[in-house]
Amino acid sequence: MASLSLSSVRKNYGALPVIKGVDLSIEHGEFVVFVGPSGCGKSTLLRMIAGLEEITSGKLLIGSKLCNDMEPRDRGIAMVFQSYALYPHLSVYDNVGFGLKLAKTPKDVRDRKIREAARVLKMEHLLDRKPGQLSGGQRQRVAIGRAIVRQPEVFLFDEPLSNLDAALRVDMRMEIAKLHKELGATMIYVTHDQVEAMTLADKIVVLDGGVVQQVGAPIELYQRPANLFVAGFIGSPKMNFTPVRVDAVNGNRVAVSGEDVINLTVEADPSNVSPGDTMTLGVRPHDLAPNQAGSIVARVGLVERLGNETIVSLELVSGTNWLVVLDGDRPLARGETLALGADPAKAILFDAAGKSVTRRS
């Protein structure tokens, strides 16, 4: 069983804490994505699991083994690096078999494993080439091949697609997802790209400032972000925010208004809201729709027409900028005034501490 658990895991560089107590459990065969902005500690956390960074305190269990002080090779993991870390002087064949050679695996076993990995990754024709003769996508494949031959219990990926162009990234993303299904292994994947996180993950771990902000399934994070950070980080284009005041609470319906919002009703947990509270309203650009009786009035700024949809930047009364996603063929002109309504079931309220007060099952 290759489950994995972290309890109160911390990492300090001298006096500087970078991972501030992470608790996390990952089931066997799960695809978990660590996502967050640069410097949030996601790569450090992955490297701690790999054994490339020491764990200052806390416990790391892989399966039932306590791995805090275990050498990387004994942890049953394999890692794919952002730079791929392919040895330029070795052929693809030797690169894939490098770990097996170090482990003094018999030559015939090594050969069989290398060819099997090459078959799975459809790179049999590349085995004699040097990394310098490969495209970015092919190098990526070789790096994954090197991980596969080790038959690890846990695969670790450190931003593996960030060096590829957009089109290739989409292809490789699908291949990694397919590979996960085929191998059934536990995979932990680090990225700063929330689209990658949303499409690949069974479970997303959002990190910021060395703290786990939320753990959950992609759709859960999208629909029920725990706080302002997750709400702003997950989803593209980003969620729109504006300050509001609670006017009335009626069951689980809360009426709010503010400089930018005239009398909008939002669903929220009434136990966390009282009239007069100052809150932040969050509405996703896809959840706004033109409505003459809508509670938000704004002036149209930049209009980006993508064909299937149009992304419009809006200037609200307070000067706050919002985005709205409309139909591809909707006629709009810069400077035009637009009234919009927000879906009450999808708008979210955050309290003064930035925590979501909206609970939906």
Partner: protein, 295 residues
């Protein structure tokens, strides 16, 4: 025409106008090209510095008739091979030590490089004193351990290697610095990937550091081999080619001819040395610099 110079051979245009190259071209022409071609000419003359009369290849015939030239040739190649070989091995080992996490790394790096900055003649004189067969500090130190030290510079079979040893002591700092630059340029990811694969320190050295510091090895071998082939100052300061002709190299033979007033003959010797260096070094560098499909 100026723009024609500015275009490079592969058709890409240089960002600088052609006349930018003129000052360097003039300096290079006057101080490097002209003397080189002049020496080719003077090697074919009987030359007294003021007058030169053309005598064809007679200087070369005379030069190769020198009784100790063969010994000098062998010594030169031997000296170059020994010094460059030792600089590669010791330089790499020192660089490995000085790129690892040891205390006083900065100070040690400075100490290793220090001999490179000292005057060669000074080093030669100092080591001549240290290597004195009876009063030298080296043999006195050895005698304290009960070992009778050899005649470092007086034993004909040892003199050349003693000088080579001093050359290595003086030059290994440069080799070390080149290796340090090569080793620190190897991406850390390679070692981390090997660590996950379970590589030992020795396997890391064998499969990563050694092959990936190949450009540094090529530079060290090329520089020290050429340096070894044209070595003169240290040999002259320590043995003057002696005892007898035991530590003569081509350069010291040439110098002796020059001292005796055979300017045409010694210039011919220089042309021979030039050709020898080209013949030996060009194939070596071609092999060493063969590209390996780097990323």
């Amino acid at each position: 025409m100026v723009t024609a110079i500015a275009s490079t051979a592969n058709g890409r245009r240089s960002p600088y106008p052609g006349w930018f190259f003129l000052p360097a071209a003039i300096v290079y022409g006057v101080f490097f090209l002209m003397p080189t071609f002049a020496s080719f000419y003077f090697s074919l003359t009987r030359w007294s510095l003021f007058e030169a009369s053309f005598i064809g290849l007679e200087n070369f015939i005379q030069f190769f008739r020198e009784p100790f030239l063969v010994k000098g040739l062998v010594n030169t190649v031997l000296y170059a091979a020994v010094t460059s070989g030792m600089k590669v091995v010791i330089g790499l080992l020192l660089a490995l030590m000085l790129t690892s996490q040891i205390m006083g790394r900065g100070l040690l790096r400075a100490l290793v490089f220090f001999p490179v900055l000292v005057s060669t003649i000074g080093v030669g004189i100092t080591f001549t004193v240290l290597m004195h067969p009876t009063k030298g500090a080296i043999n006195e130190g050895l005698s304290l351990l009960g070992i009778a030290g050899p005649g470092w510079l007086t034993d004909p079979s040892l003199a050349l290697f003693s000088v080579a040893l001093v050359d290595v002591w003086k030059g290994v700092g440069l080799a070390t610095v080149i290796y340090i630059a090569g080793i620190v340029a190897i991406p850390k990811d390679y070692y981390e990937a090997a660590r996950i694969d379970g590589g030992t320190k020795f396997q890391n050295f064998l499969y990563i550091t050694l092959p990936l510091s190949r450009p540094a090895t090529a530079t060290v071998i090329t520089l020290s081999f050429i340096g070894g082939l044209r070595t003169f100052d240290l040999i002259w300061a320590m043995t003057k080619g002696g005892p007898g002709f035991a530590s003569d190299t081509i350069a010291s033979v040439i110098y002796k001819q020059y001292q005796s007033g055979f300017f045409g003959l010694s210039t011919a010797g220089n042309v021979v040395l030039f050709i020898l260096i080209a013949v030996l070094v060009v194939p070596i560098t071609a092999v060493l610099n063969r590209r390996e499909g780097h990323q």
